[in-house]
């Protein structure tokens, strides 16, 4: 416990770094994936190719990607930007499929109703399709958010400090308590972020909560 007391400040710092290293990729991923996913779903052929390349991205193992990215971007080796870029790529890869699915599974009669009431293409996309895709998008974002928090730890292997540093350090020092502390901190952070997403969903998608009522 004394170790914990002595290191609370440092763990807090690491958690803060970890937080923004996780949030940024998810937000960036969302900003890219939603419009592209919408477009892909409207243009099935080219869109399919796009989605396909998305899944290739996701199969790339993270460690070599993290070492090669600085070479490609010309960033410095310790730049946290490398981690952000790599995780954003993963987030896009995952969310792209989610977004395309979210738009594709919209009930046809609702989209039809939007047309019938005289929504233009843009009005339909922004006022009807986007909000209706919301619940599925949110579910996707929650998954991506949680796994991004967990993936950030790999950054510790290439010198970008975050809660994952507690793993490498604890391992080196043969100190399981430090690793366990890191695990707990990472899970807590992930759950905290998840809670925030849920809250945001409640605020933005109040209608989705009535989902399973009335027969």
């Amino acid at each position: 416990m004394s170790w914990l007391d002595a290191n609370l400040g440092r763990i807090g710092d690491l958690a803060l770094t970890h937080l923004w290293l996780s949030v940024l990729p998810v937000v960036l991923g969302l900003l890219v994936a939603v419009p592209v996913g919408w477009w892909a779903q409207r243009h099935p052929r080219l869109g399919g190719v796009l989605l396909g390349s998305g899944s290739i991205l996701y199969t790339l193992p993270s460690l070599p990607l993290l070492t090669i990215i600085p070479v490609i971007l010309g960033t410095s080796i310790l730049d946290p930007l490398n981690v952000v870029v790599v995780l954003s790529l993963y987030a896009v890869a995952l969310l792209l499929r989610t977004a395309a699915d979210a738009f594709a599974q919209l009930p046809r009669e609702v989209v039809d109703a939007a047309d019938a009431t005289g929504h233009s293409t843009w009005q339909r996309a922004l006022r009807v399709e986007l909000p209706l895709a919301g619940p599925v998008l949110l579910a996707g974002v929650r998954v991506v958010s949680v796994s991004t928090v967990s993936l950030v730890t790999v950054g510790a292997l290439i010198g970008v400090s975050n809660l994952g540093s507690l793993f490498t350090e604890g391992f080196q020092r043969n100190y399981t308590f430090e690793i366990v502390t890191g695990l707990v901190a990472v899970v807590l952070l992930a759950l905290l972020l998840d809670g925030l997403w849920v809250l945001l969903g409640r605020l933005l998608l109040p209608w989705a909560r009535t989902e399973r009522s009335a027969a």
Partner: protein, 218 residues
């Protein structure tokens, strides 16, 4: 430099020396597949019964959601280091870490799959006099199959991609090329290894896509 890496990776892959022996691509590929299958089988033995039970009864759903969420949040790196400190190197550590990784998608696939089945349909089956077991096996599982297969699909892909860390503690598999490549700065080897992993993942993914489509059709 990056050009050289790509050319180098091509040369590495076309060098016949890398395609035979215990350190050759076929052997490593088999090892890798072996770990993947072992992991997913163990994870499925845990996740499927639990997920089907939760989906069928609707009970403990909150627990399932919390469980999948927390397991997803557990970083493989942390688990791996922890288990290795506890039990030393060997199969246990990485398999355990990978099982933890693949339980969430399998669990979610199972219970979300059952949940996606229209309540009216299940009600109809009960009304006809299906027993609970018949409702599960003849109605819910067949209708949930596309999502259940989808769960396997993401579990397998994640394991294939993450099993590379098994090499970190000397377990072999395709990760050997990545980890050793990074350590001895043989980036062509790293890239070549990554490419093999990617191709493996894509082949498996395509297979699952087919399976999912045929599950959805029936």
């Amino acid at each position: 430099m990056s050009d050289n890496v790509f050319v180098g990776a091509g040369q590495w892959l076309t060098d016949s020396a890398h395609w035979s022996g215990t350190d050759g691509v076929p052997a490593r590929l088999l090892e890798h597949l072996g770990y993947t299958v072992l992991t997913v089988v163990i994870a499925a033995a845990i996740a499927l019964p639990l997920g089907l039970w939760i989906g069928h009864t609707g009970r403990l759903r909150g627990l399932a959601v919390a469980l999948t969420g927390s397991l997803r949040a557990l970083p493989t790196l942390g688990l791996l280091t922890l288990v290795v400190l506890w039990v030393g190197i060997g199969l246990t550590g990485p398999i355990l870490a990978l099982v933890v990784l693949s339980v969430p998608p399998l669990l979610a696939g199972a219970y979300a799959g059952l949940e996606s089945v229209d309540r009216h349909t299940i009600d109809a089956a009960r009304g006809l006099g299906f027993t609970e077991w018949q409702v599960l096996t003849r109605v819910e599982i067949p209708l949930a199959l596309p999502l259940i297969v989808g769960g396997f699909r993401s579990a397998v892909l994640q394991v294939v991609s993450t099993a590379t860390v098994a090499a970190y503690i000397g377990l072999g598999g395709l990760g050997t090329y990545l980890i050793e490549g990074v350590q001895i700065r043989d980036y062509p080897m790293t890239l070549a290894g990554s490419l093999v992993v990617v191709v493996l993942a894509l082949v498996l993914d395509a297979g699952f896509a087919l399976a999912q489509r045929s599950a959805a059709r029936s």
